[in-house]
């Protein structure tokens, strides 16, 4: 009897968890669209959504201008923030599990440095490819991010055939600092592009539009699907590669696919929004503290929570000293760190008591 009630309660816990993060996400989305220089009531937002999706008539209260603001400015921005937050949180959760280290984040293996280098390169030389126009930067950035993770994998395979996680981490760190120093070199040599480069590096989702979302979406879908199906494998791998092998996990294959999927998400996120820190480290950690470390739930919960969190962070970044916008990376840490500290302390006290 006791066992059954425990099972049931854990099932209820799971339901509560999903309900909570989903509500959090939906509220963040609505609030994110609603608040800005022009306040748009939530009823109008829902009105616009239903008009856009189901061609219903707009009510009288909703002004046509609102529709433009919602659909062309606010929504793409909020959605992009959500997608980036979701990707970073998911990739972070996967990296932490794979590297068996709660301190790992999506940037540990140098993908972000690779993607940043591409972006900084484009800004530094003012490159603009003929067909892609202003999409040149994210495209080059994704490409360099991907090249980086490939070279990390190839290099660690060259060092050691079995590609132990420690080797991959070390290779990633080497790559990361090497590419980072090239970026610093460019910053040191640059003149008028300095501000642009720094702004990009600090991260932002402003003025991106639907094009960025459509560029990002395929990577997001592929990476997310690949990762969400690996919950069990990540559980096994977080006990060490050897243990995972004993449990029947095809370690080499699964490791590579998790690594590639998480890198796709990270690279694409950095390409469209710059290096937004903290989300990938703390959101998975936070979710693990609240809901437990089981990756089958941790991955989707982090994904949804991360989306909501970055939408809120972006909202704060653009409204707090409006009309000036703060870099979103600053805000993520400013909001996230105290919340995280609070939860950490509460958990430790509970455990002691």
């Amino acid at each position: 009897m006791r066992n059954i009630s425990i099972q049931r309660s854990s099932r209820i816990n799971r339901t509560i968890a999903y309900l909570f993060v989903t509500t959090f996400f939906v509220l963040s989305l609505l609030v994110g669209v609603s608040i800005g220089t022009l306040h748009i009531p939530i009823s109008s937002i829902l009105d616009v959504f239903s008009h856009a999706l189901f061609q219903t008539e707009l009510s009288e209260k909703t002004e046509p201008m609102m529709m433009n603001i919602v659909l062309d400015i606010r929504l793409p921005r909020v959605l992009l923030a959500g997608l980036v937050g979701a990707s970073l949180a998911l990739a972070g959760a996967a990296f932490q599990g794979l590297l068996q280290n709660p301190l790992a984040d999506p940037y540990t293996l140098g993908i972000s440095s690779g993607a940043s280098l591409g972006a900084v390169f484009v800004l530094f030389f003012g490159i603009r490819l003929p067909i892609f126009g202003f999409m040149t930067l994210p495209l080059i950035s994704i490409l360099t991010g991907f090249l980086t993770i490939l070279s990390v994998i190839i290099f660690s395979r060259f060092v050691e055939r079995s590609m132990k996680m420690e080797t991959i981490i070390l290779t990633g760190i080497i790559m990361s600092s090497f590419l980072g120093s090239i970026i610093s070199l460019m910053i040191a040599l640059t003149g008028e592009e300095l501000r642009q480069i720094i702004n990009w590096l600090l991260g932002s989702v402003s003025m991106r539009g639907w094009e960025y979302i459509s560029l990002f979406l395929p990577f997001f879908i592929v990476g997310t699907l690949m990762l969400l199906l690996q919950g069990n494998e990540l559980n096994a791998l977080s006990f060490g590669e050897e243990k995972a092998h004993y449990l029947g996990v095809d370690v080499r294959r699964k490791k590579l696919s998790i690594l590639i999927a998480a890198s796709i998400l990270t690279g694409a996120a950095v390409a469209v929004s710059g290096t937004i820190g903290f989300v990938g480290l703390v959101i998975p950690h936070l979710n693990r503290l609240i809901w437990g470390p089981d990756h089958r739930d941790l991955l989707p919960l982090s994904l949804i929570f991360g989306a909501g969190f970055l939408i809120l962070a972006d909202l704060v970044a653009r409204t707090i000293i409006s009309p000036t916008e703060l870099p979103i990376g600053v805000i993520t840490a400013l909001i996230g760190a105290p919340i995280f500290a609070f939860i950490l302390v509460r958990q430790r006290i509970e455990r002691r008591g």
Binding site: I6, Q100, F239, Y246, G248
Partner: protein, 488 residues
């Protein structure tokens, strides 16, 4: 079940294990022993498929190891490493459930009722059900190892491989874990192959032991044949003493630290005689074999007491009374051999005998009022008198167990001859007595100096004991006779 044939493996060009062959039957508890760096772990990892082998074949359940997919292999073989790291705070239940991974099929890996039942059952059998919702950080090292054992068992393996599973556990958890393994192998037919660090644990639990030395098989047999002083000395380069387990037909080994023993001799003058007791105290414990009231059997003791009691001494709990006596006289009961006699202690006969470097001290007190002829002792009724011959033999030498026993035989024969020569009569049978009904003996040796393998009557030590005991017994009896004015 498992057949390993001519297997070699190693890293790069260095082979760690060479040409290893053995077979393990179903339900067997098979131990792998060997010093550090002998290739035990490598061998285990080769069997579990983590390290590739360079030569040889491994047949698992009639199929070559290489024909198994990772999941199939995990359904057959589970591994419990020395320690499993865990970066995250999983609950016990989640951890055990992971053992069902190889059985979960499909894209979404549905958790079935059967999975749930198996996990619950195994948690019950490994007695961790009460921990199910605790997190791994909250439980002790011993409990953790049980949880990972449960995880391995949840794989429902035919073969369980363990790498020093008890390494970090205290003895109660060690016993607990190994008892569980033994139970699984005997009652469920689980084949267990385990690396052991501890020779004694391996001897206690294993059906057979494979002893590795420098990556090669040194011995493969039942514990009693593998754990031999000579073999272990060669392989481990450590001196050990092998002894049987006190309760089981299993060998156990004792390590002897190579410390410098303190040199000292027992002299005649060291024996301290008062009216109340004869005693000897030494700085260093002596290895003693005795039939005394306190400290009987084999043991190491520092003080030796022969206490005078009155002829009508009677006590229900002699041991307790004697212990109290020792405590009252500042002797430590755990470090003391205590005898008693009604004989006058002033009549003691003490003799020191020397030959070359070997010397012994013999101490005899004799009272022969209830002398008995052993060959006709059936004529006696069972009641104890206090008339007793107590014989102490201290030897400044190092004796084997055989020598101790032979020393007692020799001393007894010498005493009997003394009784004969003094014509001490058994009052009941009217024949010459062989001793008294409550005689006690003690042989104690310093265990350093000359090595003495035997102490039969015509060995060097035997001759000394025979002479000393005979002469002392004669002297003590004569004094006794004089005191009580007995004439032949």
């Amino acid at each position: 079940m498992l057949k390993v044939e001519n297997v070699s493996a190693g890293y790069q060009d260095v082979s760690i294990i060479e040409n290893i062959s053995f077979q393990v039957k179903e339900g067997e508890l098979f131990g792998i022993l060997g010093p550090n760096g002998s290739g035990k772990t490598t061998l285990l990892k080769v069997i579990s498929g983590v390290i590739p082998r360079s030569e040889g074949t491994i047949i698992l359940d009639n199929k070559p190891l290489s024909s198994y997919s990772p999941k199939r292999l995990a359904q057959k073989v589970a591994v419990l490493p020395q320690m499993t790291t865990h970066a995250f705070d999983y609950t016990v239940k989640e951890t055990v459930s992971l053992g069902r991974y190889p059985f979960q099929k499909g894209l979404f890996k549905q958790w079935t009722n059967q999975d749930e039942e198996i996990v619950q059952e195994i948690m019950k059998q490994t007695s961790i059900s009460h921990l199910a919702n605790k997190s791994l950080h909250e439980i002790s090292g011993g409990e953790k190892q049980r949880v990972f054992l449960a995880q391995a068992l949840a794989q429902q393996p035919k073969l369980l491989l363990l790498d020093e599973p008890t390494n970090h556990l205290d003895i109660s958890h060690q016993k607990n874990l190994l008892d569980t393994l033994k139970w699984w192998s005997k009652s469920c037919g689980l084949t267990v192959v385990s690396i052991f660090h501890d020779l004694n644990l391996a001897s206690l639990y294993c059906d057979r032991i494979l002893l590795l030395s420098n990556g090669k098989v040194k011995a493969l047999d039942q514990p009693n044949h593998v754990v031999e002083e000579e073999v272990i000395k060669q392989v481990y380069e450590a001196t050990i003493k092998k002894q049987p387990h006190p309760e089981l037909p299993r060998p156990q080994v004792m390590l002897s630290p190579s410390e410098q023993k303190e040199e000292f001799l027992i002299r005649k003058e060291d024996i301290n005689v008062t009216k109340e007791m004869i005693s000897l105290s030494t700085n260093v414990p002596l290895k003693t074999l005795s039939s005394a009231v306190i400290g009987a059997g084999f043991g190491w003791y520092k003080t030796f007491v022969n206490r005078h009691v009155s002829k009508d001494y009677h006590c229900d709990d002699v041991e307790k009374e004697m212990t109290q006596f020792l405590i009252d006289h500042q002797f430590h009961p755990k470090e003391t051999v205590g005898m008693m006699t009604a004989a006058k202690l002033e009549d003691v006969a003490i003799e020191e005998i020397k030959e070359d470097k070997l010397s012994i001290v013999v101490v005899v007190t004799a009272g022969v009022s209830n002398a008995v002829d052993a060959s006709k002792s059936y004529a006696h009724e069972l009641h104890f008198h206090a008339g007793t011959i107590n014989t102490w033999i201290f030897i400044n030498g190092s004796l084997t167990d055989e020598a101790y026993i032979q020393a007692i035989m020799t001393a007894t024969e010498a005493k009997t001859k003394a009784m004969h020569d003094e014509k001490i009569m058994d009052k009941v049978t009217k024949t010459i007595a062989t001793g008294t009904s409550t005689d006690s003996i003690l042989v104690a040796a310093t265990q350093h100096g000359e090595n003495i393998p035997y102490a039969g009557t015509i060995t060097k030590l035997g001759k000394m004991i025979a002479k000393g005991v005979y002469e002392c017994t004669i002297e003590a009896i004569q004094t006794y006779k004089k005191r009580w004015d007995i004439h032949d």
